[in-house]
Symmetry: C2
């Protein structure tokens, strides 16, 4: 299994509304829970009760289509509202992410690091030492995980910031974006992904579900091409919406079990679905 570490703040954790997009069920995509792997179901990164669609699901689904012989595992460690200082190497977020990644690496190869953070630093001139602080964190992370050359994919902040709702106060997002882009262009094995054109929930700070699906494709493009993604991709909207609707027996079994556990179907209906699945 190839694993990817998800770190940063809420837009890496994901706040897209689940009901706004087609769910992704793919038995070849796993997520870490309690130190073990299980099939991915969104929300992947349950840091808050408002967690929802993140970029990781469409990233992983695209990876899975391009690497159909293999499986992918997601390591969710993003924390809503966290500042860069809260990711300092002696703090709990950094230490916990290292700890989770080590559990994951007992049964997988760490293949990429996905970073999205900066909204909480888009004020008070925090951009001035953002680069140096991020460098310290990334260097320590690479050392702790023995991952000196694993690709690090860094997403930019949304254009919509600084305008309304909880985004109002993120007035220096363009300055943070400059630092993120400069970091990716100067540091080895690091690639920048633009958030240009992506849109937010009504709260004005969190990427909406459709944008997260698109952002995941852009992150994948940067990872696969080992290059920066500085503009929207061709066909990204259409591609982000073409989610597989035909499921394997294992996926159908998972969905039937979930529906029964949630009281949505009776045991008789569950058994009927089992018979149907097994007869195929």
């Amino acid at each position: 299994m190839h694993s990817f570490l998800m770190i940063g703040q809420s837009n890496m954790a994901g706040r897209g509304f689940l009901h706004e997009v087609t769910p992704i069920y793919n038995e070849k995509i796993h997520m870490l829970r309690n130190g073990r792997w299980q099939m991915m179901v969104e929300p992947i990164n349950y840091d808050r009760p408002v967690s929802g669609v993140s970029l990781a699901a469409s990233f992983a689904d695209t990876w899975s289509q391009e690497n159909s012989e293999d499986t992918i595992g997601l390591i969710p460690c993003a924390e809503g509202g966290s500042t860069l200082d809260e990711w300092a190497v002696d703090g709990p977020l950094f230490k916990h992410a290292v700890s989770e990644a080590r559990f994951a690496m007992e049964g997988s190869i760490l293949t990429g690091i996905l970073w999205h953070q900066g909204e909480s630093d888009s004020s008070n001139g925090n951009y001035k030492d953002y680069y140096q602080k991020l460098l310290t964190i990334i260097e320590a992370l690479r050392k702790e995980l023995n991952a000196p050359t694993v690709p690090l994919i860094i997403g930019g902040l949304g254009d919509y910031l600084g305008k309304k709702g909880f985004g109002t106060y993120a007035t220096e997002h363009e300055l943070i974006n400059q630092e993120l882009e400069r970091f990716a262009s100067e540091q080895d094995n690091c690639y920048f992904v633009t958030a240009a054109g992506l849109t937010a929930n009504p709260d004005g700070i969190h990427l909406d579900a459709a944008s997260q699906r698109i952002f995941g494709l852009r992150y994948y493009e940067a990872y696969a091409m080992l290059d920066h993604v500085t503009a929207p991709l061709e066909d990204e909207e259409k591609r982000s919406q073409s989610i597989k609707q035909v499921h394997t027996a294992a996926e159908k079994l998972y969905l039937a079990s979930m529906d029964f556990a949630l009281g949505k179907i009776t045991y008789e209906e569950f058994n009927a679905r089992m018979v149907q699945i097994n007869s195929k």
Copy 2:
């Protein structure tokens, strides 16, 4: 802060339907996420997308009422469907629970261990070596966490098992219950809590939300009295339903922020609620 470790399988994680009970919001109750504390909101133990109400919330709320000067922290490490063998000391569930507890213990005193497991061992004669395997796990856990005398509260399995739905196959639940009760009576600092009379979701295996609220009161009773709870408590149903409905400013702020992030209220409505909260 006083912290409690939650370990076991799905009925410790919690599968009660959230919409069936009054939610518990109490700023003095925290839960561990990403190695840090945040205000508790159910589901606490998000091991599966079907996670819901567990016994931990009403346990913590009762603890909080009885210890109003202090705060309580919950460490969610239960894993749905896990067998006792999967909790072996060299496996990921055990190691991860130890790791999470250590993050918690950097800012809290480990004050209790809450265990509920056994449905996945209620068949194939697994009860025969359940006691010895559990003893090995608990002794190792106490040693790893330097917690030789911290109370361990062990809940029994539901009477409803072995009858319908996913519970059909748990035919030896009474034999497991005997082992759990014997373990608690013979081991020091260990107390048994009966599940007598509690009821299940339509799936026939998971305690329903109302029963989880009651079970939490029984767990608290065992913890507070340092004694076994072998029969339902007087007034437990009524007490389990009397959830505090008047909230502090911090709780109101949390709820307003959540509603806004979920798109349930506009920014104007959010701001109006802020004004109202701050004027009190």
